[in-house]
Symmetry: C2
Subunit: 636 residues, 2 copies
């Protein structure tokens, strides 16, 4: 039920808006109780204020440590309205009328803890401790508990809404508003004590360790261990988690500090992302963003199951690639006919491994323009993340999948936490986020005598190193001409990764063979059927049953590629300046041997193995350049 506002208790650290709030309350005849600095500034501004010490008939003692911890404050805060015994208690003990509004907020404790010089000295610790507020949280908590009668304002951001509520209820507060405010007050008090507990348990634990190191007897009983609280704010529910039977799934923003600011680093513009969509989106976004940062070009990625199927830069296409990617037909659909850098990056990323990219999640480093949206339009795809969308592009994308296409707008300026946490089997693991960005300069000098490393090669090595950073480990990736051409993901051995990626690069290259380009598909054969049929044609390992089904896509039996034609064509891949990056060092030469089979010319890897010398020697044998970048990028 609405509760008339007659008596307010105001005691704030952050004075933003409080004067205006109290003026409005006072003008409606509300009695304002206040303490110390707040009372002074209100009074100076001409607002009539009753001192808490007049209410309690007791002075502030202990340098202000005890001001409001008094029955004359907590009686009126905690008394249940309409409860005769409670109202009798207030009267018989002359505790005054119930308090209807509490306005209070807390000094952000983490600032006090961070601001102390020599944070671990006893003097600094005493200073931090002096900042621990006892009276404020008690008022907040008492008012929040008794929200059946009391409205508790714990942040200046709530004042407008509160005043609007009071206006629309003829001078009273609504029950819904009070409960909402109470919930936020408890969230604040929890975050506040979480910050204190984190600081104090760490200190106590360090103390105990230092004492023990000094040879002191350990404290009796279990030693205190540092506790950490992570605070999350619900954003939305998910249909389910990794799998349909994993329910209770949801997306939460990380609450920062005592204030609990919480914003997602992206917005949902269209559709309903699922759990794995979000894993793909958040990883692919980081990938393209780092490519943009490291290489200064538009970048795109096509993700499936938290690994890239393709990643590329906005580099113009050769005639051969333009033919393989059907660029002329695509250009006809695009206004003006020109492919923008974003469009080129997408076209390359999607065509690195179009069989794998079926139903992918797309990431773009740049604002998505109409040309790019039109190229995405006919592809089977789940969603996209990018820093922005031209209005026409957003319209095109939002109409995909009968309107269900997921469109996420990433916030490139989002402040991200330094650490990342995950829970697994009842254990929590913490680590710093992997914020290292590969650049052409970060790759270092070749460890080998030849060949020369051009700028384009440094670009492609950087592209490959960044791509494997966001590929499930172990991973390696081949790049050429501004795009990934083969990505080996999630293998238990490095040499298996290289073989896997090399096969993919070969398939990518074979897709450019004229016999593949000229496959006589029946008119109306679906896009993905063509993609799959080409791969089957190239691999040449299909079963009889499959062959029969495969033939149905064609007007006539296609002429096979002979072993000689295949060999000759694959040999030409060696002219393409093929670059390889590995997410960790090669322990043996076998990975280099495997890379040589597709004519790889350039390799970058962290280095640091006891096998480095043998690996460099193998590179020399094959005439490869090898660059160490020193930055491992396992990804799990």
């Amino acid at each position: 039920a609405p509760v008339p506002v007659r008596r307010a208790l105001v005691s704030v650290f952050d004075k933003t808006g409080v004067l205006d709030l109290c003026r409005k309350l006072a003008s409606q005849g509300v009695e304002i109780l206040s303490t110390g600095g707040t009372a002074k500034s209100l009074r100076e501004a001409g607002v009539a204020v009753t001192d808490v010490s007049d209410v309690t008939d007791f002075p502030e003692i202990l340098d202000g440590r005890v001001k409001t911890l008094h029955p004359a404050i907590h009686g009126p805060l905690l008394a249940v309205r309409g409860n005769e015994a409670h109202e009798g208690d207030l009267k018989s003990h002359k505790l005054g009328a119930p308090i209807d509004v509490v306005v209070t907020n807390l000094y952000p404790f983490e600032k006090a803890a961070a601001g102390a010089e020599q944070p671990d000295s006893p003097e600094a610790a005493s200073e931090v401790i002096e900042n621990i507020d006892i009276g404020g949280p008690t008022m907040l908590r008492a008012a929040a508990k008794n929200h059946a009668g009391v409205a508790v304002l714990s942040s200046p951001e709530q004042y407008d809404a509160f005043l609007a509520d009071v206006r629309s209820n003829d001078g009273s507060t609504s029950a819904g508003m009070r409960r909402s405010l109470a919930a936020q007050a408890f969230a604040l008090s929890a975050r506040y004590d979480a910050a204190v507990a984190q600081w104090m348990t760490r200190l106590a634990s360090d103390d105990a360790a230092a004492a023990e190191a000094d040879g002191a007897a350990p404290l009796p009983g279990a030693p205190v261990r540092p506790v950490v609280f992570r605070s999350y704010v619900h954003h939305s529910n998910l249909k389910y988690g990794n799998n349909p039977h994993q329910g209770n799934a949801g997306v939460f923003a990380l609450a920062k500090g005592t204030a609990g600011d919480a914003a997602l680093p992206f917005e949902v513009l269209n559709g309903s992302p699922g759990y794995i969509n979000l894993l793909d989106a958040l990883n692919s976004w980081q990938l393209v963003r780092e490519l943009r940062e490291g290489l200064g070009q538009a970048a795109a990625a096509s993700f499936k199951h938290v690994s890239p199927a393709g990643a590329a830069l906005g580099v113009p296409l050769s005639d051969q690639l333009a033919a393989a990617y059907d660029a002329s037909a695509i250009a006809k659909r695009v206004p003006g006919g020109a492919l923008t850098p974003a469009a080129l990056a997408y076209l390359r990323a999607r065509n690195a491994d179009p069989l794998c990219s079926f139903g992918d999640f797309v990431a773009l480093s740049d604002v998505v323009d109409e040309a790019t949206a039109l190229i995405i339009k006919p592809e089977v795809s789940d969603g996209i993340i990018a820093p922005g969308y031209e209005p026409e592009a957003l319209k095109i994308l939002s109409a995909k999948k009968k309107g269900g296409f997921i469109v996420l707008q990433a916030d490139p300026d989002a402040e991200l936490p330094a650490d990342e946490w995950r829970e697994l089997h009842g254990v929590a693991l913490r680590q710093r986020r992997n914020t290292f960005v590969y650049t052409p300069e970060s790759l270092g000098k070749p460890e080998t005598s030849s060949p020369e490393v051009s700028e384009a090669v440094r670009r492609d090595l950087t592209l490959a190193a960044t791509t494997v950073k966001y590929t499930q480990s172990n991973s390696v990736g081949f790049a050429a001409g501004g795009q990934m051409i083969g990505i080996g993901a999630g293998q238990q051995s490095r040499v298996d990764c290289v073989k896997l990626a090399a096969r993919k690069a070969q398939t990518w290259w074979m897709r450019q063979h004229h016999k593949v380009l000229e496959l006589p598909f029946k008119a109306g054969t679906k896009r993905q059927t063509r993609v799959n049929a080409r791969v089957q044609f190239i691999e040449g390992t299909i079963t009889e049953a499959e062959h029969a089904a495969w033939l149905k896509s064609f007007d006539e039996e296609p002429a096979p590629i002979s072993a000689e034609e295949r060999e000759a064509w694959l040999a030409a891949l060696a002219e393409e300046q093929v670059c390889l990056a590995s997410d960790a060092f090669f322990p043996f030469r076998d990975g280099i041997d495997a890379a040589s089979t597709i004519g790889t010319k350039f390799v970058t890897q962290p280095g640091g193995s006891i096998g480095d010398a043998a690996v460099i020697e193998a590179a020399e044998e094959y005439g490869m350049a090898m660059l160490f970048h020193g930055m491992r990028s396992f990804h799990h």
Copy 2:
């Protein structure tokens, strides 16, 4: 500095041990202040108690809502010892002597919230709210802030340590002990308010949603969103996270409820696990545990980069496999010569793909016996997790890697949380843990007409389904005779997974060919060199440079396996009852086509695709049995 204990304030919900504690304090002449129920029970037990209301000269009011919120309690709690002004305040306002010890604890709020019938009714909510403690946390917090002078006992588990501290300090409390207790008190108060905030924000948010659904005007201002707190207790630091430049890495236990009980579900018996070791350990342990639960047999797994390279059951070896796995030589090292089920499971798991298993993490479902430890001994491996170790086995394992071999003891009875959280790029994601356990019964009836599905086949299908559950997605796996023989991990397309796993299964089978078994290795050729050389021999795709290096391992040039021999040998794999499991449905027939190339006879998968009919038809064509189990197991 030590602070003499003269005055204690005692007000507890959980009365465990409090009588004994107070008796001891009273016998040392400590004045005991107390309230309500605590005072009554102490008095009945003959302990002299001063009522708080006598100290405050003020009765308990509002049904006990206001008891200790009084300057006569909080002055003596918060006064700084040795501060003349503070001591003067206590004297001039007759607030009594400082309080030296506070003993208080809190009713676990989550129980109040969970216990309410019809938890979301207004009546139930009022009942829960009645349980929110204001005075208790205030005392806790005031005493903890002022721990320079006050010891605060917030749990009965602290009493013994506290009494020991007082004994060893001649009736005083030590500064270290007081700080440690204060830190724990703030952790408790943070967890308490976190529980309140979680409950109340959820309720307020539901309210707002319900009101809006009823057509009510939305509350002014931003709606309250549910907040969630995760509370972690530090266990140990890690050298680094996924990569050396990702610092601040650590392992934490999950704190449960207001009490904050926190225990890891494993113990470190030897060595120092790294971040990825733990990912491997916690995943592999779940895998073998579920195999044990679902199949009632000893199970083992060999993990690399968070995917299994092998997984197997304790099934006896055929002569052919015994030869390939060198079982007779191994048996000679084992006391009694017999391989136990655990040893068999390990031998099979490690030999599924020994090239990948180099440097693996091992998981065993059963207590590790001496035989198993002796087989593990010479292998290059990082660590092991198991529910227990025979003393001799622990000795053997702990001596591996110059004493650095990681030995973890899993707690099979650990209570695990229902949900699992992870942070990614400043976003927190929640889902239920995937606790589904595959069993032979869970696989369902064949969707196909033939062949017959034996118990051994159901076992192998269950093994394969469970293994791909813990393999990075997309994943498929082949099993035969009680072990995995080929695992396809982390691919962006399902058909690529099948091809990858099929190649692995073929390599496994070729390793049993007599020409491989008879390879004329030079004496003293290292174990892993042999493993790799065999794979190179089998794959037959090595470069000239590699071939030259490869030859060095042999006394004479080995006779190659001809294409005909290869084909004939691989054809025999079809007699091995090869089973395939997929972590999600086959969208097209191509995965089945690819599986047919190694003679796969049995397939299990969730089903549920619009392509099911075509996939079943393909299975029929190849004479495969296909069983739907309905439980997708994507794993990321």
